[in-house]
Symmetry: C2
Subunit: 264 residues, 2 copies
């Protein structure tokens, strides 16, 4: 029986150290994100070498990858420690980010822009707006306990967006847009179509989100519909890759979950 990350000898055939470091890093990454290390301190090098059955250099290279991702840092006299906290967003619920994050800390929505705009044609078409019809554009930076987590750019149909604008920035800062639409405007929401992609954030976004340059974000595009099926808003959300993970529980047998049902 071989070690999964062989360091040398016959078991290492064809594997570069970078390959071995990648295998170590992906296991450690999962542990960091799940908060599996007591006190946020990773085991020391010797323990990691034993755990993964690999060499010191491979362990160091793996820790270097996680450092580059902004997940851990080396602290003198302590060892390798987890940097900051990672938040979990349940993908299965159509909920506003703030609704979810309020369970974890104090959410502040910094409103960077809120006004009526002439939407780009591609956005107008997806929102079902007629040529020349305005939209409301909302740009918010979401912070949890002071840490910027996401940058949300939202185009809303006028029927939904105008009443939100009328409530002023204060309402937008303190409350989630989904809540405002349903309770404030009185329009119940229905379904949403969501797509998720990994993107290297551009420098402007990195600056706004206080991320290291060249870091990755989850780029979420979400078209949310009113209960009657009409589009309500189209959002472009960038979630910091180093601070937020999406979660879901999927069911094989019943094909439940978020997709179309599988035949039984």
């Amino acid at each position: 029986m071989r070690d999964p990350i062989p360091g040398h000898g016959a078991a290492g055939e064809g594997l570069t150290r970078a390959d071995r470091a990648r295998r170590v890093a992906q296991v450690l990454r999962g542990q960091v994100l799940r908060g599996a290390f007591p006190g946020g301190v990773l085991p020391d090098e010797r323990a990691l070498i034993a755990e993964f059955g690999t060499t010191r250099n491979t362990v160091r290279e793996a820790l270097g990858l996680l450092r580059d991702e902004g997940l851990v840092e080396r602290r003198r006299g302590v060892g390798t420690v987890v940097v900051g906290r990672t938040y979990r967003h349940p993908l299965g619920e159509l909920s506003g980010l703030a609704e979810v994050l309020q369970r974890h800390g104090t959410v502040v929505n910094e409103v960077r822009e809120a006004q009526a705009v002439r939407p780009p044609g591609a956005v107008a078409r997806r929102l079902g707006l007629a040529e020349g019809e305005p939209a409301v554009y909302l740009e918010r930076l979401r912070r949890v306990d002071g840490t910027p987590l996401s940058l949300d750019c939202t185009y809303l149909i006028p029927e939904v967006g105008e009443p939100l604008l009328a409530r002023g920035r204060g309402a937008l800062e303190g409350q989630d847009v989904f809540d405002l639409i349903e309770r404030g405007v009185g329009l119940p929401l229905g379904r949403a179509e969501v797509s998720v992609q990994a993107v290297v954030a551009d420098p402007a976004t990195c600056a706004v989100l206080a991320m290291p340059e060249g870091g990755a974000v989850l780029a979420v595009e979400r078209l949310t519909r009113l209960a009657d099926g009409r589009p309500a808003d189209l959002e472009f959300i960038q979630l910091r890759g180093d601070r937020l993970t999406l979660h879901a529980t999927l069911d094989r047998a019943r094909g439940t979950g978020t997709g179309p049902a599988r035949p039984a």
Copy 2:
């Protein structure tokens, strides 16, 4: 009414060109990923300037961002064209990637490793394995119509993994592991816990996936259980950010989807 991406004047207060380019890029990115451009050719600069109500420089910078992400390229005499195809993976189904991608093209699973290993402690614990118990490690590179899309590292419990090894590489290359487990080994699968994160791929992974260095991947961790609730395998999947998006339809009212149900 302002343009959503104002190029100059009062409407542009506080907005840098990078901010404006980001807003243009995020709309175009969604269109690229949805295959919204006929023939894969983007509108020319003049049309984009009109559509977004912005300047030539902003449009150029936005296209530059998409080029950096590997989504588009400039072709002489044609304009800006979409590079390659983007595949959609329904996140709501607990299905193997190959099962989904087979709808789109010829899937080849290149088996890079398949053997019994001593799993790292963190993996053993999540799989419910006793100290010293082996696991089966499987590493596969998945290609669709020749394009590498994902690198999958899977640790399986012996009861599931050993019969797979016994079937040989041929079976693993041609068939999805979920199919092999259910039909070949005869063990029905139950639920899976999935987490998704955006990560900048390390150089070794970029090389294997034929991605530009510094590109982003969707890092998926999936713990799949047998129908009786025991863990069957733990997978670390890296999906090319420039070629694959995850999709889901979420329901506000019923809290269906992949997460825990919301109170009615």
